[in-house]
């Protein structure tokens, strides 16, 4: 494990030791800014920490473990867009305020889709809008913002229609926009995959702890081999997905999408079983295991569907063969 990774994990877990620690969205947003997370991916020359994608990947996992509320993932996309964009007047100020925590939101769906699944659009000043033709920052003043309440509830999502005559800052156009959009979609997938793995790890630990304490038939449930084997299978799936995640932070967008589909499926599988392991109590709203199940399903639906990514990955396998 690299030194940087250990530092990032340690500091994150000190501030957000578990999912409860991050539930006050406003406070956790300030804590993330204080930890320097929004500066992490920005090059030092532009005032950031100059960390690499694999370091951001550690942050994403910690966000999932803490079931982090707020628009942090959108903020990472906006910062990446600003970093990649050619210089323009006011860029430095924008970047500085974004690194300090002024929220810029963005859709958590992949490009080409409408401005849906936009976190915290009601409080953000600007939205990053990306397509294969152009990437722009649009002021949200006067925008039509419609709540999109989700089962998850940890992310506050909205559908957005910006007002027609508000200021827009173009960041990229033409082929540059296409490349940037692809890059941002890849980052979104990396973020969602990390979130999924962090969440899966937390909910699996929660379930195994419960199996160890709950007693039936004069023994802890954890002693039953039927449950052990299912827990072991979940652990294998999680470790395998984690290895792929750690090896993929610099991967091409398609590989990141396929990886996201894989990791989100694992999160859903782990969370689904975790609820089952808890038995009746897992169905009560007071018990937190359902929170992870709901986030798992939402993650799976964000950043492009599994069907889309798997089909694309399948196409790539066919092409590989054609080259041979």
């Amino acid at each position: 494990m690299s030194e940087m990774r250990r530092e990032l994990e340690d500091s994150a877990r000190k501030v957000f030791p578990d999912w409860q620690a991050a539930q006050d969205a406003k406070a956790s947003w300030a804590q993330m800014a204080e930890l320097g997370w929004f500066m992490a991916g920005v090059p030092e020359a532009l005032g950031g920490l100059g960390l690499e994608r694999r370091d951001l990947a550690v942050i994403f996992t910690e966000m999932g473990r803490a079931r982090m509320p707020g628009p942090a993932l959108a903020q990472f996309l906006a910062l990446e867009a600003l970093v990649q964009a050619p210089d323009f007047p006011g860029r430095e100020d924008l970047m500085e305020s974004a690194m300090a925590g002024e929220a810029i939101t963005a859709s958590l769906t992949i490009a080409g889709e409408d401005l849906t699944a936009v976190p915290d659009a009601d409080t953000a000043d600007r939205i990053l809008v990306r397509s294969t033709d152009e990437v722009t920052l649009i002021n949200l003043a006067g925008a039509k913002i419609t709540p999109f309440p989700t089962w998850d509830g940890s992310r506050r999502l909205f559908t957005v229609a910006p007002a027609p005559d508000v200021p827009r800052i173009p960041l990229a156009a033409g082929s540059e926009a296409a490349a940037l959009t692809e890059r941002l979609d890849g980052l979104l997938c990396l973020g969602l995959a990390g979130d999924a793995l962090g969440g899966a790890d937390a909910v699996l630990a929660m379930a195994i702890e419960y199996l160890g304490t709950r007693r039936q038939f004069d023994r802890p449930l954890a002693m039953f081999q039927a449950l052990k084997h299912r827990a072991a299978d979940l652990k294998v799936a999680l470790e395998t997905a984690t290895a792929l995640y750690e090896a993929s932070s610099e991967a091409a967008p398609l590989a990141l999408g396929a990886m996201k589909a894989h990791c989100c499926e694992v999160y859903k599988q782990v969370a689904e079983e975790a609820v089952q392991f808890h038995g009746g109590i897992g169905l009560t709203v007071e018990y937190p295991v359902h929170l992870f199940l709901k986030r798992a399903f939402l993650n799976r639906a964000l950043g492009g569907s599994a069907a889309f990514w798997n089909e694309s990955a399948g196409d790539a396998v066919l092409e590989l063969a054609a080259v041979e």
Binding site: P220, M223, D233, K235, A243, L244, S248, E311, A313, V317
Partner: protein
Amino acid sequence: MTQEDDALRREIRDWIAREAPRDWRTASTHEAFVASQRSWFAKLVAAGYAVPHWPREWPGGGRSLAEQKIIYEELARADTPRLLLSFVSTYHAFATLAECASAQQRSHYLPRILEGETWCQGFSEPGAGSDLAAIRSRAERRGDVYVVSGQKVWSTMAQYADMCLLLVRTSADGPKQAGLTYLLMDMRLPGVSVRPIHQIQGDEEFAEIFLDEVEIPVAQRVGEEGAGWAVAQATLASERGLTLMELSYRMRGAMVRLSEAVHAAGRTCDAGVLRKLGALATRVDAVCALADRFLQKRMDEDERVGDASIVKLAYSRCLRAWTDLGVELADLAGQMHAPITFGDLNSGNWMADFMNSYAWTIAGGSDEVQRNIIAERMLGMPREPKNWITEAGQ
């Protein structure tokens, strides 16, 4: 990727182009397959690619993880034969000799392995599979020899082996693990007979070994009498995980066969098929990444109890899914009986590949045993009470 890595990749690629056998898939008899295995191993030894996982003092040993990856990637990419015949000798026998044997045993046997002496493993018995410590093959000490009688089963390629890693019972007292002793047995000794096992896909990769009053010199013992269980752990640990990187890369390299199957079935536009193919390709990538990470951890001495079980389970289940998709794509045509390619896991003869995949879900610690290890020793879930017979009798 450093310049040295690039150079090694070019070097091995050129070497494979010159030296690798191309006709091994068409070997129509076991003898022809075994002959091709022997000559391929000899070539790899001469070129220094046979034992990259051995220490530096051996020719071809002391390779870094990055170098091992390159070697296995290139061997897989070129669809070269897997080293089946020398697998036990270069992994199990090597680790046992290196870690537990006397200096004399080491200096006698290790060079012979590189010269082509092959080993098999005599551990499992009809009554001792997952419960390995229940071994009943009996060794009785008479002067300078142990006289051994019993039966071993599931010994990979024992019918072609020169030597055997043999685990036997020298005492029936105390815990069953404490009565085991580890011997190095010459397969040519009087009283040793071998019978190949006819497997469901037509291969004869495994054999039974029958031992009838075999006299094995006491000097052939590894460790003390009664310390065989600990030595056996060293043998088994050598395999766990290490070879799975190569196998994972071979599975990834063979994705092309699934692609060919999609083309052959005329289903290149079938979204359902493409989704399964894509999801499987990502899973295979994940298994490769897991095997990489495991080896790195092992080299960094950062391995956790249960890590090897995770790699094995991830690989074995993925291999099953890989072959399953092939059988599905081949549809009715895949049900037509086709002769097998000996010793291959990713041949594209889908029914044979599917049946062969059980070798990885059962052998070397079944999936079920691996799940117990992960649950109990990694996740900390408690063991079941041991004496169920006593309890049931109450």
